[in-house]
């Protein structure tokens, strides 16, 4: 299911959170909304779900208009037929796991084969054994799996994820990433995933939308954004960047230490196991470059960068 957001704006009291934003999310894709906190990514997600009402613009789910300020349409969340996974899991503490999962089917009166569907959903998240437990009796990872199961059991065409992994610890988070991705892509579900973690975004996404201050800076594949950032903000937010001037930069891995190129002074050297990370200074700008040996603080190095690896950003 394609999701179209057209010219949507949203203000909270006097602060503009979403500024005339448009985005087309292709059917079946895994799109990540990436940006620092306060950039409007969660608000955009909640507006798609119907949990927040825009001030103006239009939102389409597939061919269906779910919001239009002009036509006066604003469907409540319960009529949009989406899945949503919350940051805090939002499991109902007074219901057993199986009842949490079955709730959506019951609410939509789709009770035929209910038991089977719930079992299948719990099986998909490997919680077959836990159907009779209460949420408080599960670990954090298990609770998050229940919330996945609850989102997929109604077979929505689209699931929205609001930083679902941020409450988990680092190890568990990496494990859950691939599990989650597999869960949605195998079912062909369009996924919109909000995060502020660029590693998470790059490793999971088909497409990334980089958001800053209520605007979309760039919407493209992770590879394109990395290689050809459209704005200084995307360049800085995705990957490391060493700036030559305000418009030109290169990625650390494309540089090497040689005899010609840019002059830079060593400010620090960190041993990372298989390599050393050098903290450099070039005309007052801070660079990072990886090297095979230690260099002393104060030493001056020559950094060479192939011409085709120097990226120039068109607009400021």
């Amino acid at each position: 299911m394609r999701i179209s957001v057209r010219n949507v704006s949203k203000r909270f009291s006097s602060k503009t959170v979403i500024d005339n934003m448009s985005i087309e999310i292709p059917s079946g894709s895994f799109t990540t909304l990436l940006g620092p906190s306060g950039c409007g990514k969660t608000t955009l997600l909640r507006m798609i779900a119907g949990l927040e009402t825009p001030d103006s613009g239009e939102i389409y789910l597939g061919e269906k208009c779910v919001y239009s300020s002009e036509k006066g349409i604003s469907l409540p969340p319960e009529e949009r037929g989406l899945g949503f996974v919350f940051q805090d899991f939002a499991l109902w503490p007074h219901m057993k796991v199986k009842d949490n999962v079955a709730f959506g089917l019951r609410a939509q009166r789709r009770t035929e084969k209910l038991e089977e569907k719930v079992k299948a959903a719990l099986h998909a998240v490997q919680l077959d054994e836990y159907a009779e437990r209460y949420p408080s009796e599960l670990s954090g990872g298990q609770q998050q799996r229940v919330s996945f199961a609850r989102a997929i059991v109604t077979e929505p065409e689209c699931i929205l994820f609001d930083e679902p992994l941020s409450a988990l610890d680092a190890l568990l988070r990496e494990e859950m990433r691939s599990e989650l991705k597999a869960l949605v892509t195998s079912r062909g579900i369009t996924s919109v995933f909000v995060t502020h973690d660029q590693t998470e975004a790059m490793s999971m996404s088909d497409l990334i939308a980089v958001l800053s201050a209520g605007k979309i800076e760039q919407y493209d594949t992770p590879e394109t954004i990395y290689a050809h950032p459209a704005t200084p903000f995307s360049a800085k937010f995705i990957g490391s960047s060493n700036w030559i001037d305000d418009r030109t930069m290169f990625r650390p891995e494309s540089a090497s230490i040689g005899t010609s190129g840019f002059e830079a002074e060593v400010h620090g050297s960190e041993f990372m196991g298989s390599f050393y990370r050098l903290l450099l200074s070039h005309e007052g700008r801070k660079w990072i470059i990886d090297a095979n040996e230690r260099h002393d603080v104060g030493e001056t190095l020559m950094i060479s960068v192939p011409q085709n690896s120097i990226i120039t950003i068109k607009e400021a």
């Binding site: 940051q87 939002a90 949420p135």
Partner: protein, 543 residues
């Protein structure tokens, strides 16, 4: 010393709290020094008393129902809709609680009685009078007093539910009524049960309203019967104690029930960071209905009783009622000039409030501090909050009467101080405990590591951090003690009136104007003290 402190406190608290309670049981089941249940059973099964027990419980039940009907909608409005932004309602809804129940019910009586204030304003409302002077009126007036408790509890419970729980239901296709029924209400049943039990206990423990409005309509309850048997000839302490024992039993059962529900039916909200609760923006029509409801509640619970009390305090001749030219400030002047009683009552009340608040602050702080070492201390110190004050005061009366030869304080003002300290000790203990719980252990540890001795660390780290709690406890005790009715009406020494018994006496003896003038002074005093208290606590938010 520090390790002996809990033991010392347990001994003191046992003498102060446990001994009076034991005296009640002793009076009930050892009528002539011999164990016998006959007196207790006879008292309880005496047809009049059996009927009284029935009506007490019925009253409790009805008040729970009516106060729920007021409190639940308000709790929802003030937690989940845009009305939550109007924080000043928090203060407004403290007014019914700050108005002593005996004053509020006097206000209602003066308003509703035949040819009373209501009928002077609207003569055709005469039919309401008969309806009001019945169980219905008693239930309403008592509900108007207790509903803020339930409202606050339910509001906090509703605020504690993250809105994502509701949103998750909405996204999955559940409409608003279904979400209320399946998600919202089950999460609140535990809290509601606790609130309802609290209201029930408060109602059957309440003395002020039954002793004014209840007596007027001949509706006897536990508290009025206990009071009557202990104060009006022929005195029958045995019967009084038997009823008190039964009341203690009922309260204990209810507290146990409450504990059970807290364990079984309240939920810890699971999950990571919970999202801030989001509010429903009401449509204009719904908003208007909410405004009407809020205004009606404020009108009935605050405006009418206060209007009635203030108007009565200003009326010159009762026979002419609300009529131009029949108003005077003379009643206020009479309170201070007619005889020494008014001034004496005020100074006795202030003396009692200051002394007992100060002693309770010391004792309560000591209890809160040692409850880290021994939970028993806190357990005993909080008993007075669980039991009706009339029961404790009866126990104090019996106990100190019995040991008069050794400790001759019965019949002096000091037994009142003692009684106030016992009754209001829980306020300080709770305020100080809650400040203590906010101090992480590492703060004290850091003080020790920096070289402070325990006493030094206590004075320079712990004490400054809990001082606000101590102050709040002191102020709360001061406010409540200032207007306390039960203790002085049972054990005030000869020649000693407090503000509450002064008002009661003037009201009963027909000097209504003077009584109500004192009532206005009392309410003004409580309100000003409360505002000071709020101001004193407010900066805590910055932490």
């Amino acid at each position: 010393m520090r390790n002996r402190l809990p033991i010392l406190l347990i001994i003191i608290l046992s003498i102060l709290i446990i001994c009076p309670l034991l005296s009640i049981f002793a009076e009930a089941v050892f009528p002539d020094g011999q164990f016998s249940l006959t007196q207790a059973i006879d008292t309880i099964t005496e047809s009049e008393n059996a009927r009284m027990i029935g009506s007490s419980l019925l009253l409790g039940l009805l008040v729970v129902i009516v106060s729920s009907a007021i409190a639940l909608p308000l709790a929802f409005i003030f937690s989940r809709t845009q009305f939550a932004r109007y924080r000043f309602f928090d203060i407004i809804f403290m007014i019914p609680f700050m108005t002593p129940p005996y004053i509020a019910s006097m206000g209602w009586i003066l308003f509703m009685q035949r040819r009373g204030l209501l009928q002077q304003l609207i003569p055709s409302a005469a039919f309401l009078s008969d309806w009001f002077f019945s169980l219905a009126g008693l239930v309403l007036v008592m509900s108007f007093h207790v509903f803020p408790f339930m409202m606050t509890m339910m509001k906090n419970a509703m605020l504690a539910i993250p809105s994502s729980l509701d949103e998750a239901g909405a996204v999955l296709g559940a409409r608003f009524p279904l979400r209320i029924r399946k998600l919202f209400m089950p999460l609140l049943t535990g809290n509601y049960a606790i609130g309802a039990l609290l209201v029930f206990v408060k109602t059957i423990s309440e003395y002020g309203t039954p002793s004014t409005l209840g007596r007027r309509i001949g509706f006897e309850v536990f508290t009025t019967d206990i009071h009557r048997y202990a104060t009006v000839a022929p005195i029958e302490f045995g019967k009084s104690a038997s009823l008190a024992s039964l009341l203690i039993g009922i309260c204990l059962v209810i507290w146990m029930l409450q504990n059970y529900i807290t364990m079984k039916k309240t939920y810890n909200i699971v999950g990571g960071r919970s999202s801030a609760s989001r509010i429903i923006t009401l449509k204009p029509a719904a908003k208007a209905i909410c405004w009407i409801f809020i205004t009606a509640v404020i009108f009935f619970t605050m405006v009418i009783p206060l209007f009635s009390v203030i108007a009565s305090s200003l009326i010159k001749l009762r026979g002419y009622g609300l009529r131009a030219g029949n108003f005077t400030l003379n009643n206020y002047i009479l309170v201070f000039t007619e005889d020494r009683q008014g001034i004496n009552a005020l100074s006795v009340s202030i003396f009692l409030a200051v002394t007992s608040a100060t002693i309770a602050a010391f004792l309560g702080t000591a209890c809160a501090l040692s409850s880290r070492k021994s939970r028993l201390v806190e357990g005993i110190a909080l008993i007075p909050e669980m039991l009706p004050s009339i029961v404790l005061v009866l126990g104090i009366m019996l106990f100190y009467n019995r040991i008069y030869k050794a400790v001759p304080i019965y019949g002096t003002i000091w037994i009142m101080v003692l009684s106030y300290v016992i009754l209001f000790l829980p306020y300080t203990v709770q305020y100080v405990s809650s400040s203590l719980s906010q101090i992480s252990g590492s703060l004290r540890a850091a003080g020790r590591i920096c070289g402070g001795k325990p006493g030094y660390v206590f004075r320079h780290i712990t004490l400054p951090l809990i001082s606000r709690g101590i102050l709040s406890g002191w102020m709360m005790t001061f406010i409540i003690a200032f207007r306390e009715l039960v203790t002085p009406s049972l054990i005030a020494p000869t020649n000693t009136l407090t503000v509450s018994t002064y008002i009661n006496r003037q009201f009963e003896q027909g000097s209504v104007g003077k009584g109500m003038a004192m009532a206005v002074i009392c309410i003004a005093f409580s309100t000003v003290s409360l505002l000071i208290l709020n101001k004193a606590i407010a900066p805590e938010k910055h932490r």
